[in-house]
């Protein structure tokens, strides 16, 4: 059978500390970005309209240029106006929730209003709290299930730590790329929990519950795991590119965040998780 193999990682040549250094450094930088953003803006990540309140209006400018569109709304209190998709659509955001002035200005200029979404500030902050509760509950639930499955501290910790890092790194990247945290992003971050534990559990399972040497087991888990993650990344990259070209909301941000998370997962599983497992296997208290 022509199964393509992945490169063997020369784990033997590096100490656990050396292996841990990279993922922990990346995680540290990511946390620094979040803390920095928190002190600069008051939130660790830029929150979307669904969480802060306000309105997003998407309109088809019928051929008008970006500057003309900006001119149309210049007398109104807009936060930003951005082009979306490949067509002539623009996304206008504002803190106002009474949008009649905007809709009137749009129709006077002959623009077609495609969608209007608005959220009151109080409802936004409720959603914020609710989303946070959901994220924490999901993470705690996942941790408990992992602990129950492996019934030993270090291997469970390895899975949970790498899932944590898989979530924190994309959030930091969202800051750097200027992606707002909306409902779609929350869904994507939760999806990362689901995707990331797959390869971690696979690795733990091969190392702890199989016969054979540590390196042999790791290698076999890696072959399967890397195939899985790269396949998922391929799906998500495609989804991101296509959704961006078509200007489909929600799908583009979900896809991009999953690409970030899955890439972070490759690093975390095969550096952080592997080194923790090796330490547990050879030096740890059993």
């Amino acid at each position: 059978m022509g199964r393509i193999d992945v490169e063997k990682m020369p784990y033997e040549e590096y100490t656990n500390r050396q292996l841990l250094l990279i993922p922990l450094a990346v995680l540290g930088v990511a946390l620094l970005v979040l803390v920095g953003a928190y002190f600069l803006t008051g939130t660790p990540v830029d929150l979307g309209m669904e969480f802060t309140g306000g309105t997003e209006i998407r309109l088809d400018a019928q051929g008008a240029s970006g500057d003309e569109v900006r001119e149309t709304f210049s007398s109104l209190d807009t936060e930003s106006i951005q082009g979306v998709g490949t067509g002539n659509s623009y996304l206008l955001s504002t803190q106002e929730t009474d949008t009649s002035a905007f809709e009137q200005a749009a129709s006077e200029s002959g623009y077609v209003v495609q969608s209007v979404e608005s959220t009151s500030a109080s409802f936004g902050s409720d959603s914020q709290r609710e989303a946070l509760i959901g994220m924490v509950a999901a993470f705690v639930g996942m941790s408990l299930l992992v602990a129950l499955a492996f019934r030993s501290f270090i291997p469970s910790l390895a899975v949970v730590a790498s899932a944590f890092s898989d979530i924190v790194i994309p959030v930091a990247l969202m800051n750097l790329f200027g992606i707002e945290l909306g409902l779609g992003a929350v869904a994507a971050l939760l999806m990362i929990i689901g995707y990331s534990v797959d390869s971690d559990i696979l690795l733990n399972n091969h190392v702890l519950r199989r016969h054979g040497s540590f390196y042999e087991s790791t290698y076999r888990a890696m072959r399967t795991g890397i195939s899985m993650t790269l396949t998922s990344i391929a799906a998500m990259v495609t989804m991101f590119v296509v959704a961006t070209l078509f200007g489909i909301p929600l799908l583009d941000s979900i896809a991009l965040i999953l690409v970030f998370g899955l890439t972070a997962d490759l690093m975390n599983t095969y550096l952080l998780n592997v080194s923790l497992l090796r330490w547990y296997k050879y030096e740890g208290v059993k």
Binding site: S120, L230, A234
Partner: protein, 531 residues
Amino acid sequence: MVDVRDNWRILMLVVLCFVAALALFGPLGAGGGETGLADNQTISDPTNLQYGLQLSGGARIRGSLVGQTAENVEFAGTSTQSIESTVASELGVDPIDVTARPGQPGTVELFASSENISQQRFASALNSAGLDVSADDIRNGVTDATRDRATDILQSRVDQTGLSGASVTTVSAATGGEFIIVEAPGEDRESLRELIGSAGRVQVVAGYPDPNNDTAPQMDPILDQGDFANIQGATRTSDGGSVGVTLTEEAAEPFAEKMISAGFTREGLGNCDFDAATDDPSPNEHCLYTVVDGEIVYGAAMGDLADSIDPGQSGDYSGFLANPAFQINTNSYEEAQRLSINLEAGSLPTTLEIESSEFLSPSFAQAFKPLALVTGLLAWLAVSAVVYFWYRDVRVAIPMLATATSEVFLLLGFAAAVGLALDLSHIAGLIAVIGTGLDDLIIMADEILQRKEEVKTGRVFQSRFRKAFWVIGIAAGTTIIAMSPLAVLSLGDLQGFAIITIVGVIIGVAVTRPAYGDVLRKLMLEDVKRK
């Protein structure tokens, strides 16, 4: 020969796919139903799938009822009327804005936000009414009974406007809030907002000269929603619109007496010149004002009705009592239509404060249907290429892709069967399901097709299959656990995403992945034979 015992999992998958096909295309689906869209607004679709707002267009408004509730109140013999009137006069609000409900224990609701009247003030007003209540017993929000009534009224309002496919539902948020969601396909946002955003309380107020005050007229509310026995609907008039109503017997007599004693049928006849946009009620005129939610929308003198109430100034209104018909006037026909709906459906107990609203134009939203399909297909092609790259063996790759595809097909069948309205979030969920599904299939293929041992019997397959399934089971469990908070929370879009992902994972673990196991078993045994 196909051995049923060895291949029952594949057979089950085929049967379920057939059932899903029936649900999608045949008679098993929940039915398309009326979408409320004109034919030219919809793109024809051969399936029974139903689409939500994001893929079919329309407006959705989420709001909460304004009010605060004192709970666990012991009424101790005090009548609800006296509580309501005492509290209302203490707080300076209309008695209709206070509702006391006896029970074990009772509740008192105040239909004003705590920003306007603090919980402290509400509590002290309740104390003046002889009730032992502290500010701690008061929460924001209204009672279930009030919310149910409001939901019924809103439903009847949307029904009467002929918004087919419109729905009114309530959801509760994990953080305690209760929301009412009104959704109308194809309807534009402003008209939906107008329809539900107001309490819709209609009154007729008699304004006439006050002998003791020459700067402001005497204003007496004389007719209320409850005084109308029959509503005939809106009609066009020369200067606007009007709604014909019939008064109840109980309301007709005091109304006629008031009209005569206040002079509407005599000296005040025709003495009203009022424009709601510019004027305040004049102290010298006899006007009947139409008041909606406390705002005067129209004022006019009594017309022909005077002949029926007070024929020849005789004061004999028996003719009116025999046919107590009355016209409520408005500035426009549209306003009259809205008024008629409000009268018919009744007024909301309190205002619905709009928390979030969404509007998507039908043509814009429906364009996403094919685009989302193309996105899914391209993602599927990308995955196929990568899977083929890994295995270089069509015997592994094709069943793997077929299994993943059947998973999506089953999910769509499920959506059609239960009548789930698909939105973009569900599409994202579907693509996520393909992703985790393929991950699991790769785990199974690698586990079962490993080459290191000589295998002789199906027992090796069983043990490998079980090992692979342990990993898959735990991974599926974590995905379900990670998604379940979203499935319960009322975070709009995310609920659909979570539900699709969870159902997809369950279908995958229970049906499609075991079936792929059977395919792999065959491949494994073939490999053995060749060695």
